[in-house]
């Protein structure tokens, strides 16, 4: 079939190639127009500013961190009332404050300290609103947006959004222009420098050229297989410990997904002693810390609880740090290669602590109060802590190789604080780039979970 399809097309007609040449000629002419001398550009800018400033500068500023409110059972929203009188197109102007400069080749979105040594200053992400939008959401659950440019700066045009997660940056609402600017601030930037930077941003009446729709992702609604692109909120689905999981491999020759590996958990054990464990079976990322005492008993873990500030009214601070006993959850997984060739497998299991709310939804236990942004830093290991040896040349923490028709049991382990073991679940990592993918890939926002005790 591949041959038939590859030879299906006629040669590109000459008239089409001619159209390409014409477009290139136009691009070349544009490039000549762009090469205006710098002083001339300054003159143009000055003339334009004098011409435009008195009547159409939109400078009203509202810092939105203070306005975040809980919405339903979902998350935080920023109260924004859309200014119906705002112009359709706006032009963004930044009079970069003294001591900073625009970082080259960043589309006018990054600013660094004006010094010889590179020091990060600000990153901005402008977002334009239109129609009746009352809530903004920047990191999850985007229902619909267009990627646009405002005065050559990439930005988002938000059409209908809600459910905001994680207010940990600076949001500045330029009310008269209906633009929200997300500002990331460098570690060395002081409050007064931030204030000066916010003041340096203003908007003037723009034209279509300043506000050009560049890329529009497809809307996810009613398209289940696109849903995962824009919805990062997972639905957890608990399965029995001994459920057989099928891994599909993609055959690039035939273009078809085919069964390659089956896996099943055969045992889960909990211990607090790692005496006798081969050091090379411990994930190197944990080897630099002191793991166990001289008898092999796991050392306690210091669990820190943090409250993340909104960047405006509150700062990020540690609320507590407490030493907690740890256990090691060891999981035996039996893998079977059902093909007659060697295959690599990705081990998708992670250990997370989850709690169920009154609606029957699972939430991450470390999110102690997500509306107040109070989070514990990890009750369990984020990555595999222990993995049994599985061959001399293919030792790796993620991708063991299975020989044709081979069945092999691999043991993996995660540390978790003892008092959270009741909430501990093996969670399947939502992989898309894995060597093999579990066959629930058609439900990309579903994460299968298995309770460990």
């Amino acid at each position: 079939m591949k041959d038939r399809l590859q030879n299906a097309f006629k040669e590109t007609p000459e008239r089409f190639a001619y159209a390409v040449e014409n477009a290139l000629i136009e691009a070349r002419q544009q490039s000549k127009r762009k090469k205006i001398s710098v002083p001339f550009k300054i003159v143009i800018a000055v003339v334009l500013i004098f011409a435009v400033l008195p009547s159409t500068v939109f400078g009203a500023v509202k810092i939105c961190g203070a306005l975040a409110q809980k919405v339903g059972n979902f998350g935080l929203a920023i109260g924004i009332s859309i200014n119906e009188d705002a112009p359709k197109y706006v032009k963004m102007n930044i009079d970069v404050p003294k001591g900073f400069r625009e970082q080259p080749n960043t589309g006018g979105l990054k600013f660094e300290r004006d010094s010889e040594e590179w020091v990060f200053g600000f990153t901005i992400l402008p977002m334009r609103f239109y129609e009746n939008v009352h809530y903004t959401l920047l990191e999850t659950d985007v229902k619909e947006y267009n990627e646009i440019t405002i005065s050559s700066r990439p930005s988002y045009e938000l059409i209908g959004t809600e459910n905001y997660h994680g207010l940990r940056r600076y949001f500045v609402w330029y009310e008269e222009a209906n633009v929200l600017v997300l500002i990331y601030r460098g570690d060395t930037v002081t409050d007064s420098e931030l204030e000066a930077f916010v003041d340096s941003i203003s908007f003037t009446q723009g034209s279509e050229n300043d506000h050009d729709s560049f890329f529009e992702p497809e809307r996810a609604e009613n398209e289940p297989d696109d849903f995962a692109s824009y919805n990062y909120e997972y639905v957890f689905e608990e399965i029995q410990r001994d459920t057989e999981i099928t891994f599909l491999g993609f055959n690039e020759d035939t273009g078809e997904s085919e069964l390659q590996v089956k896996s099943k958990i055969t045992d889960i054990r909990i211990t607090d002693n790692i005496k006798g464990f081969d050091e090379s079976d411990i994930n190197p990322m944990y080897q630099s810390e002191k793991i166990a005492d001289s008898n092999g008993v796991l050392l306690p873990k210091v669990v820190e609880v943090w409250q993340y500030g909104d960047g405006v009214n509150s700062e990020t601070k540690m609320l507590s740090a407490e030493s907690k006993e740890q256990k090691l959850v060891l999981v035996d997984i039996e893998y079977t290669n059902t093909t007659d060739k060697e295959v690599s497998i990705y081990i998708p299991h992670r250990l997370e602590t989850l709690t169920m709310d009154e609606y029957g939804n699972y939430n991450f236990a470390v999110e102690i109060d997500k509306f107040q942004d109070i989070l514990a830093k990890e009750y369990c290991d984020g990555e595999i802590f222990y993995m049994s040896s599985h061959g001399s040349n293919d030792k790796g923490f993620y991708v063991p190789k299975l020989l044709p028709n081979e069945t092999r049991t691999i043991t993996i382990g995660f540390r978790c604080i003892e008092e959270q073991l009741n909430n501990a679940y093996l969670v399947f990592d939502p992989i898309t780039d894995g060597v093999l993918v579990p066959d629930y890939s058609d439900r990309a926002n579903t994460r299968l979970i298995i309770k460990v005790q």
Partner: protein
């Protein structure tokens, strides 16, 4: 990247631009418009391209968005005027084999695009994922569906 290099890379991509735009739009006039717009936008936004090696992928992504814009406009025109979709003329038929052409054209647009990119343009799964901004699983499922649909018609 200077204009000379830009021109060179665009010319080298001409066949791909033709096949991708024709497979989406089925109309050479619209395909030429989409390609012209895409080339101009690519040039205007060249500073956003991080690595030259991604040029072709990036250009095709812009082209696909241009094609979508045209499709959306024509959808509106057709639905407003309540007209039938015009028959494809021979000039607008990019396929050598009538049978294969009809089979490809009969595929839903999203599946058709993935099939053409994978089988005709030799894009990898990862590149298609990047260009279309969809998950790898979606690319694979569209390929599987497309292949199954083509099999029904061609085998």
């Amino acid at each position: 990247m200077d204009i000379n290099k830009f021109e060179q890379l665009v010319r080298a991509s001409t066949d791909t631009l033709y096949r991708v735009s024709m497979s989406m739009l089925k109309n050479e006039h619209d395909a030429q418009d989409a390609v012209s717009e895409a080339i101009l936008k690519a040039y205007e936004n060249l500073h956003k391209l991080r690595k030259e090696e991604y040029f072709k992928t990036w250009l095709v992504r812009i082209l696909i968005n241009e094609c979508k814009l045209i499709l959306r406009k024509s959808d509106r025109i057709i639905s407003n005027a309540n007209e039938k979709i015009p028959e494809i003329t021979s000039r607008d038929n990019p396929y050598l084999s009538v049978e294969v052409g009809e089979a490809i054209n009969s595929l839903p647009e999203k599946i058709r695009l993935v099939i053409v990119m994978f089988y005709v343009e030799d894009y990898s799964i990862k590149d298609i994922k990047r260009v279309l901004n969809i998950p790898e699983g979606t690319v694979k499922s569209r390929l599987s569906k497309g292949r199954a649909l083509l099999k029904e018609q061609l085998l």
